[in-house]
Point group: C2
Chain length 433, copies 2
């Protein structure tokens, strides 16, 4: 049942939001543009890493901070960053900030050590996991390629994101290497079928190396039973990757994080704060339990024009060689600043709010007639909705079921009134169908 106390709006006063944006804009103009183009200003206010960590107060807390404090933080972040129009050479602030944000996300997974990196989207995070798993098992693969290896097999449920098959093709494994495990009617992977598929692959001469479980499937929002899947992985010595692009943020909610029980047993986790937490696109982390520098060994190339070993600071801070990109955007900043502003508590409320509103939507649909979808009306309703411009909801089929609207209740400014409008509008648009 919907709990009206939990359903209070998370929306801030729009005027206050606008005023905050104006102030941030002013700081960007002052600190980054005006000083950044003034030749008498320093390119960088150099600080030793430990001192800089203190100055920036990087740690992420449970309590959100005041508007004034957030503005100060914006100013400090720009002040200690490199202001240069040449190449994007070093990022003293963001290297430390990324480290702090990844540490926080790993702690929520249940790890007090490990590694990680921000990727350009969850699809590429999933590819990283696949590449790391095969490298860990067959380090030779980096140099000699897949031809030097036995045929590999990886396992994921039929409800997984399509990036798993895309990734298998891109990484040279081929889509045939993806063995599809059955899901139950709620969309959760069936661990017994995973066992069966592993035996089957082995019988066919393939070497199983990875299971990709999903926390928050694309269509049904299902959470695979991670503990049971981890048991299977442990028995067979397989890398467990959790694609928690959608569901990872649920770890912030003490009420709902049980949906990911067992995630601490994973080897890698893909988590996109740009989804359920609504950080700006893109903000996508790959987290690793590994402490053996696997990322750098797997992806490193030691390019001499970037990663010189004779630098005057600890070169372990040069994280660039962990990735397959060269230049990267600063994707950690959005999450760091949001966390500083909302605090872990504020983010937790967002998650709880999304679950509460979803429950409300389900209850309301049950109350209204005509909302049991048996006919093919979604494409027609979609066209009317887009052309009228009132809403934008995705539809899709599922198995043998007809096209249906996929409701994603994640935006923190949604209220009960929005849900009511949505249902009413669907009724209005479809009244003659």
């Amino acid at each position: 049942m919907a709990d009206s106390k939990q359903l209070r709006t998370m929306d801030e006063d729009p005027m206050a939001v606008e005023a905050l944006l104006r102030d941030v804009f002013g700081i960007v103009v002052d600190e980054a543009i005006r000083k950044g183009t003034n030749a008498s200003e320093k390119v960088c206010e150099w600080k030793e890493p430990e001192e800089l960590k203190q100055l920036l107060d990087l740690e992420l807390q449970s309590q959100g901070e005041s508007r004034e404090r957030i503005l100060e933080r914006c100013r400090a972040v720009i002040h200690y960053s490199v202001k240069t129009g040449y190449t994007y050479e070093i990022a003293p602030v963001f290297v430390l900030m990324e480290e702090e944000v990844l540490k926080k996300l790993r702690a929520l997974v249940g790890w007090n050590s490990g590694d990680g990196v921000f990727c350009p989207g969850g699809s590429i995070s999933n590819m990283y996991a696949m590449n790391l798993a095969r490298f860990q098992r067959y380090p030779d693969c980096k140099q000699r390629g897949l031809r030097a290896l036995p045929p590999l097999a990886l396992f994921t449920s039929k409800e997984c994101h399509y990036s798993i098959t895309k990734g298998a093709a891109f990484l040279g494994l081929g889509t045939d290497s993806v063995r599809v495990v059955k899901a139950d009617e709620r969309g959760k992977m069936i661990p017994e079928d995973l066992e069966r598929q592993i035996s089957l692959a082995e019988a066919e001469g393939s070497v199983p190396f990875l299971v990709s479980a999903t926390s928050g499937t694309t269509v049904l929002g299902a959470f695979d039973p991670l503990d049971a899947i981890a048991d299977v992985c442990q028995r067979h010595g397989l890398w467990l990757h959790v694609d928690a692009a959608w569901g990872g943020s649920v770890l912030l909610s003490r009420t709902h994080r049980h949906l990911l029980d067992g995630i601490q047993r994973a080897d890698s986790v893909a988590w996109n704060p740009h989804k359920l937490l609504a950080a700006g696109l893109q903000c996508s982390a790959l987290l690793l339990r590994d402490t053996s520098n696997l990322l750098k060994r797997c992806h490193g190339s030691q390019a001499s024009y970037l990663f010189q070993q004779d630098k005057f600071y600890d070169v372990a801070l040069d994280t660039g060689d962990k990735v397959v990109q060269c230049g990267r955007r600063v994707d950690c900043l959005k999450l760091w600043l949001m966390w500083k502003a909302q605090g872990g508590q504020g983010l937790e409320q967002r998650i709880d709010q999304a679950f509460a509103l979803t429950r409300y939507l389900v209850e309301e649909i049950k109350k209204r007639e005509g909302f049991e979808l048996v006919m093919e009306v979604a494409p027609a309703l979609k066209e009317r909705m887009v052309k009228k411009g009132t809403m934008m909801i995705g539809y899709q089929p599922h198995g043998t079921r007809a096209n249906f609207f996929r409701m994603v209740v994640a935006n923190p400014i949604l209220t009960q009134a929005d849900i009511d409008f949505l249902l009413g509008e669907l009724e209005r648009l479809g009244q003659d169908l």
Copy 2:
């Protein structure tokens, strides 16, 4: 010799830049934030693609436009985009804009048809090219993986970007599949050695499938002789990829574009406008000569929750299935708006300016004593420079040569005075070394 007319500053009045930014910010607040969060505003002002093309006046011209016109364009781009806090579902403006920008870049390469996509950086563009080349030759690879294929070989010079070997490892080919071709002392690939390496690979039982030439190498800024390399590729039936991440923008200069003569014979081109054109990071295009929908066939997965075939508009406009990412950032906007503002002519001047300043730098170094680098001083100078905060220049070794400063003269606001400051500062910092 430096030509002072060519060396005029491209810098605009800083106050005018600031005022422009303030106006753009105001438009973003009005159109995207205020209207985007107002429930009585439409989520999207739906237009048929052809009508929208006209309304937006997408075409890129030679002449730059006025400040007022650019502000109108910002307003129109937001007005016709989807304003939704739900999922990033459709992008009517940016699909058309990306098409227009890619068409313009292809035209500069010398193609009046083809395909392309924006990637998260040049490294991933290069991986796309490698994946497309092997898929074109062995379509089976997508499904059956590399084990179904003979051992493959690709060719690039020892001056290539490190993403080529990173990509070969990531794609399962292994770094051994990269055959390194000799370069001359200016850093250009030697076509005769390419021939030799191809014969050698074949003799060892490998199947050559791709040559990656470089236009603008990382360290020496060399341009490989594309016409001679294209001849070799043609003789052996190899895919020619040009990594023009750095040098692609030189195609805008009628004076200097001869450095890329032969690029129209390539199969694919990686070009990062975020480098020499100084578009915001990231803005990285992969261009293809292919007209057979290779991109979609190679990367497509037809995910039913995104790419339904029963939509009410031409689904060929759904470009999302061409990429291995799922959500993507709108990287074409930066280049489109910059082009509208500067015009092709303004961008051409930027390139010519960079070349003229580089010549000036070389001449000045010749005039000054003590600038012939024979000792190992670069790391010490770098530390002093960073801690003083006056400059930020990268150094690196090359072959048997000592560490040297790698001068990249690309920023359009650079002037002769900046070059003079740089040389003077290097002298001041190093006077006791």
